[in-house]
Amino acid sequence: MNKLLEKKNPAKHIKSFGFLALLLLLPVIFTAVDFTYGITISCFVAIYVIAVSGIDIVFGYCGQISMGHAAFYAVGAYGSALLSSKLNIPIIISMFIAPVIAAILGALLAYPASKLVFHFLSLATIAFGEITYQLILQSPGGITGNAVGLATKKVNLFGFAFNTSFRFYYLALAFVLLLLAAKTNLVSSRVGRAFVAIRENTHAAEGMGVNARKYKVIAFATSAFFTAVAGSMYAHFVGYISPDTFTNKQSVLFITMLLFGGTASKPGPIIGAIAVLLLNEALRSMENMQMLVYGFLLLIVILLLPGGIFGMIKDLFYKYTHRGGKENAKS
């Protein structure tokens, strides 16, 4: 349906082609201006965009809070690292298997949790996140390397190693485009409409014949899958994982990015990931102030910008385009 509509609008087509060309040329531009660190940041942006899009499905569209998504991120990272190193599964396949495991875990968590209201859902997801974190930190048999962490291998596809930021960027870009397209299709489908119905009013949705529990489980599972893909990308990009990355701070970071960008939209997670990562870079020089500034910013966004940056842009745009109309109406 979407594709049909897009074909009727050639201008939009040209715009998205231009955007894609810019994305493809980005590492080349960064290399040309001798700012290779920019490529590394772009790779992290890609990873976070996927993770945050996952949260957007469950929180932005379905209205169910999860404060334990770091657990799915961890399952993706450790799952893929362990599957590829212990069982010798090719990384590109283990990067798919680990998210499937995460999706199953997400469904198992969501099934009993779907009865809980938001407050207690957030407690349940926090508990889930903490349990996962503790199990990584003190794993049975020390399989995760406990506090020391694990060294991971780089992705190798048909003999081509994605071992530099420059090369990994294209792999990450492919993942982002694929998963964002999947997300867009999902939320504009029947399932996505059920999500929104549950978010707006669960009782009314159930009255209309939407099986709330089923769709909450679907939302959690898909969301876990997305975040776990990001986790596996993180593991094979950085080359080293340790429990420090998967604390509840990470879960809050995901939600902060989503709120910064704006919920339930296509550009929201992208804007949020870029904004928060750039902010982190800017605050790098004063490391012990970082979390403090971060807390204030989160508070300001919640108090003053409930729609996030994307919501603000939309509002400004609306005001700008409708200014003439309003003045006319007044006179």
Partner: protein, 292 residues
């Protein structure tokens, strides 16, 4: 016997602290239907303030405690008035309020680190005696003090809520804000006061646990998260449940780490939390506030 007694006392100490924190959660939930993630970090701030007044400025214990209480009531009141109430008035989704409390907890925790540094500080001893004999077993007097004072605090809170005019007004305001308002109760002040009292209780917990555990910036974060476990175990919103849940959790935790293994000690609280949420969300005291 010696080991049993020591484990039992340290279980009671941490259990009372969980109880005090959970009590704050229950009070806030009853008064405004909100969930606050600030309690744990208020505990940290309280411990640091106590350390500053009593340890650095050498103000007598009782006066330091009172000064900390006053400051913390103001802080709790300010958080409710300045942030939570504003969001409630704007009719924002409840989840944004939860996130706002998380933001405040980040600010408190990292603000404390900015002011007092990230090293562990030693809270000065409250008593000159090194240990007190109970059934022939030596126990740190601060540990006993912690248990006794927190139990007294709980009784005082119970009397305050049940038998004083302010307590009755607060209970009325939480039960039915509209009816309370029409009876001339200032509902918004009473909600703010509830947050203030919860903050004071958290700071009490911080000053009681400070001499036993030491004072550091992440002291309250873990206790705060585990406090949820005891609040849910007792029945979220039930004051007696919070205390009972706290003490049960504290005892279970210390006994498992004392007699079985300390490796999975931190796992315990969260498994209990998940089990109760999934199997018996109304808790031991069958509090019906939790279900949709």
């Amino acid at each position: 016997m010696t080991m049993f007694m020591q484990v039992f006392v340290s279980g009671l100490v941490i259990g009372c602290v969980y109880g005090l924190i959970a009590l704050g959660y229950s009070l806030i939930y009853k008064a405004s239907g909100m969930m606050s993630f600030v309690q744990g970090d208020l505990l940290t701030v309280g411990a640091f303030l106590g350390y500053t007044f009593y340890g650095l400025w050498k103000i007598p214990v009782a006066i330091s405690f009172v000064m900390v209480f006053i400051l913390m009531v103001l802080l709790g009141f300010g958080i409710e008035r300045g942030i939570i109430n504003r969001l409630v008035k704007k009719k924002t989704l409840p989840i944004y309020i939860v996130l706002a409390t998380i933001a405040v907890s980040y600010i408190l925790q990292n603000g404390a680190m900015y002011i007092w540094g990230s090293n562990m500080l030693t809270f000065p001893r409250l008593f000159s005696a090194n240990s007190i004999k109970i059934f022939g077993v030596g126990v740190q007097p601060e540990a006993l003090f912690c248990i006794v004072v927190s139990l007294i605090a709980m009784v005082i809170l119970h009397i305050f809520m049940k038998y004083t005019k302010y307590g009755t007004a607060m209970r009325a305001a939480s039960m039915d804000p509209m009816a309370a308002r029409s009876c001339g109760i200032n509902v918004s002040v009473s909600t703010g006061l509830t947050w203030g009292i919860a903050a004071a209780m958290a700071s009490l917990a911080g000053m009681l646990i400070g001499p036993v555990y030491g004072v550091f910036t992440t002291l309250g974060a873990t206790i705060g998260r585990k406090g949820f476990s005891s609040a849910v175990m007792g029945g979220y919103g039930n004051m007696y449940g919070a205390i009972v849940g706290g003490i049960i959790l504290g005892l279970m935790e210390t006994f498992t780490s004392g007699y079985i293994s300390s490796a999975y000690k931190d796992l315990f609280a969260y498994i209990i939390l998940l089990l109760f949420l999934f199997v018996k969300p109304t808790g031991i005291f069958n509090e019906r506030a939790i279900m949709e």
